[in-house]
């Protein structure tokens, strides 16, 4: 069959055609919402109209058949209307209350997991990892799966002082808002890259490679028509590898993951914050990364025990102090936790008022 005529610059379809009638009618006129269960909520419009939402977990990486299954369910209970969330969950949009419980039942029977709303743990923002990225030093999807299996009760039922946003980045590029998460895993390299000098001149631009280094560790190597890397300055960020394929940084035995905590995006109560390093290195342990998963669960549990209601992890730590956080969690404080890159001035303590 002949291909249809291509069109350029049409842009995305107008979203309005995908909105359920109850949304079109009450667009911008919502009055309030109530969380019914961790997997369902109702929005009430000024007109009195109601829209129920049922939120379901997704591994983000979906086969087309699973998307079709979402569609079939939406056709049966939601007149074909559904949406996805910024954290990769599926949401079924119900305008007829009578269909709400039957929908939940069918979702349960089909093995879908409802949850993720409110003060618990919802889906994890993550990167491509070994599934599809050239720069990955771990697999993001696998880490997410292993973490969420262990933390699943916080998705489905168990509540926390506030929401805990998790993220996984498979290298320090951090595609996604990993750097402002309550707890995030970031995969790290720990060794100076090597350079295949014979390929350098054909595949790389000297100024780009030198400019790619945040610590000025790269200088020209005229004898080899290549570059050399100063091991005392290199912090293994991998940016040179990104711009120049003959530079190699992957190392299966030395690549690992670090854990950062206390970030947040919203401005509720306190300003948005970056996540901060607490565990500098855990070996890369596919397929289930047991130590990294245990560390995350441990931090969640200590937070649940000590934080006040509505405090996010970062707010709780700022109230009690980082020295207290390391004490309560019994996490070893290491040199890597002291910034020696761009933020030292802002992050060192300048008073004697700390806790023992």
């Amino acid at each position: 069959m002949a291909l249809p005529q291509r069109k350029t610059d049409v842009g995305p379809p107008n979203f309005e055609q995908f909105l359920p009638p109850v949304i079109k009618k009450n667009y911008g006129k919502w009055k309030y919402h109530e969380v019914i269960t961790p997997g369902s909520m109702v929005h009430v419009a000024e007109s009195g109209d109601k829209l129920w939402t049922v939120r379901v977990a997704s591994p983000r990486l979906l086969a087309t058949d699973t998307i079709r299954e979402h569609c079939d369910i939406a056709e049966k209970y939601c007149d074909g209307h559904l949406r996805y969330t910024t954290r990769n969950n599926v949401e079924f949009l119900v305008s007829d209350e009578k269909k709400l419980e039957p929908l939940k039942k069918e979702l349960k029977d089909r093995g879908f997991k409802m949850g993720g709303i409110g003060a618990g743990i919802t889906n994890v923002v993550h990167t491509q990892g070994w599934v599809h990225c050239h720069g990955a030093c771990t697999d993001a999807s696998g880490l997410v799966k292993a973490m969420m299996d262990e933390l699943f009760e916080y998705f489905e039922s168990k509540r926390l002082p506030n929401k805990v946003r998790l993220a996984v980045a498979c290298c320090v590029n951090m595609c996604g808002a990993v750097h402002c998460s309550d707890i995030a895993v970031v995969a790290v390299h720990t060794k100076v890259p090597t350079v295949k000098h014979e390929d350098f001149k054909n595949m790389c631009e000297l100024p780009t490679v030198i400019g790619s280094c945040p610590t000025r560790a790269i200088s020209p190597d005229p004898a080899n028509k290549s570059v050399k890397i100063n091991a005392e300055k290199c912090m293994y960020c991998g940016n040179c590898f990104t711009v120049c394929p003959p530079i190699s940084i992957k190392d299966p035995e030395r690549d690992g993951v670090a854990i950062v905590v206390g970030g947040k995006i919203n401005s509720l109560r306190s300003n948005p914050k970056f996540s901060k390093l607490v565990i500098p290195y855990i070996s890369n342990e596919p397929p289930r990364w047991p130590k990294a998963v245990a560390a995350i669960k441990h931090i969640v549990e200590v937070y649940a025990l000590h934080a006040r209601k509505h405090e996010r992890i970062g707010e709780w730590i700022e109230r009690i102090g980082w020295e207290k956080f390391f004490k309560l969690t019994n996490i070893d404080f290491t040199f890597q936790c002291i910034d020696d890159f761009t933020f030292m001035r802002d992050t060192m303590r300048t008073a004697s008022t700390f806790k023992w």
């Binding site: 995305p12 949304i23 990892g129 599934v131 699943f152 320090v172 590029n173 990104t242 690549d255 509720l268």
Partner: protein, 408 residues
């Protein structure tokens, strides 16, 4: 079709959380590419390294982005993923779909690709994961003729995205869905044909809850806010008091201490409120913003590469956002002009602002310095004075001598 033995990733099919490995197997049942992707991934798990090469330059005629070239180093071993390019489909605002539209997307993808997707990728696009070079033009013809277009990639405007906004949220201060659609349509050329120094992301959140994480990961972060008082429904306050300790959970957590509650009446000293949203999210039936609605424009956020992460800085404390959004569109063009003139290759706008100075940037886009832009003023005494600056300070003093009254 070769069946791979995958003992390591099989372990990721156990447990309650939905498994991406199960998804890959589902697609692999009748798709050679997905099948080889499974074997390829198992190999990564066994050796603890990845095998994808750096992206190659592939795409569709007339566009410079939207397709990420991906090749495997071990394509001989796994021919189905020797080429395994990603196609980004620009998502509808707010990720709203009908089953009919989604099924159409799936049918086309099954015909030409691996049957694997990301719904959605980090930027917001609906990501089609894995196809061959020769399939790209047919894929584009099939999608574009049905009203779907590619998203952004490379040194271009990236696919704008937004929170659910007026579609299903009582807290939004502007039409995030409508604005995102309007900006995406306005800047189609900048999105499809990379001419920038590096990527440029626009994300729009309707309030300070920032559900799309705009403040942390968009070069232009549009955060909804308002200028009037928070209206209080005291009857609803009474209802909340039955189930909530209002003083502990709301009043004492207010960052500006502008609230009080005596067990009967909730009061807000509105000029002291910084609109953080905590009280409104706790008592959504009782508290509503009023007055002028719009947004704060913040700029510069990015992930750590190259010299550390940035959160976006407040640039325009308040802007009204109503169709056709002319003021914002003009401002974005001025921002890009200045960036274009000043950036080195692969420099994000936040990095260029840091290098050239905020003054250079604000003057170029015509925004006055305002205390709302900073957390605190400079703490060092090293500053630039232009001749015009000193002349203006002198002129002010001359004026003071005439009136006998100081103006600081």
């Amino acid at each position: 079709m070769k069946k791979y033995n995958t003992p390591l990733i099989d372990q990721l099919e156990k447990g309650p959380w939905p498994s991406f490995v199960t998804e890959m197997k589902k697609a692999a049942k009748n798709n050679e590419m997905a099948n080889d992707a499974l074997g390829h991934l198992e190999k990564c798990y066994s050796t603890k390294v990845g095998y994808w090469k750096h992206g190659g330059i592939v795409g569709v005629l007339g566009y410079g982005g939207g397709v990420i070239g991906r090749y495997s180093e071990i394509g001989n071993e796994f021919p189905g993923v020797a080429h395994f390019h990603t196609v980004r489909i620009n998502q509808p605002s707010g990720f709203f779909y009908t089953s009919k539209a989604l099924k159409e997307i799936c049918d086309i993808w099954d015909k030409y690709g691996s049957g694997l997707t990301n719904v959605h990728g980090s930027t917001g696009d609906l990501v089609l994961l894995g196809t061959k070079t020769e399939a790209l033009e047919p894929i584009f013809a099939e999608y574009s003729s049905r009203g779907w277009d590619l998203g952004g990639s490379g040194s271009a405007l990236r696919t704008p995205s937004c929170c659910v906004g007026p579609g299903r949220c009582e807290w939004t201060n502007y039409d995030t869905l409508g604005l995102t659609y309007a900006l995406t349509q306005e800047f189609q050329d900048e999105l499809h044909r990379p001419t920038f120094s590096y990527k440029f992301k626009i994300k729009s959140s309707g309030c300070a809850c920032d559900c799309v994480a705009a403040l942390a990961r968009a070069d232009l972060s549009i955060i909804g806010t308002w200028k009037g008082d928070i209206k209080i429904d005291q009857n609803e306050v009474k209802n909340y008091a039955k189930t909530m300790d209002i003083n502990a959970e709301v009043v004492s957590m207010c960052p500006t201490q502008c609230m009080s509650y005596d067990g009967k009446e909730l009061k807000i000293d509105n000029p002291e409120c910084n609109r953080c949203m905590h009280c409104i999210t706790r008592m959504t039936k009782a508290l509503k913003p009023s007055g002028e609605r719009g947004a704060t424009l913040c700029m510069g956020s990015k992930a750590p590469i190259v010299v550390g992460s940035l959160l976006s800085w407040v640039i325009v404390p308040f802007i009204k956002l109503e169709p056709p959004y002319t003021e914002l569109k003009d401002l974005i063009r001025k921002i890009w002009d200045w960036w274009d003139e000043n950036a080195k290759p692969r420099e994000r706008i936040g990095e260029v602002i840091e290098m050239k100075g905020m003054r250079s940037f604000l003057e170029a886009i015509g925004v006055e310095p305002q205390p709302q832009q900073i957390r605190e003023p400079r703490k060092d005494p090293f500053m630039f004075y232009t001749d015009a600056d000193v002349e203006s300070y002198k002129a002010k003093e001359a004026e003071e001598k005439k009136t006998g009254k100081y103006r600081f």
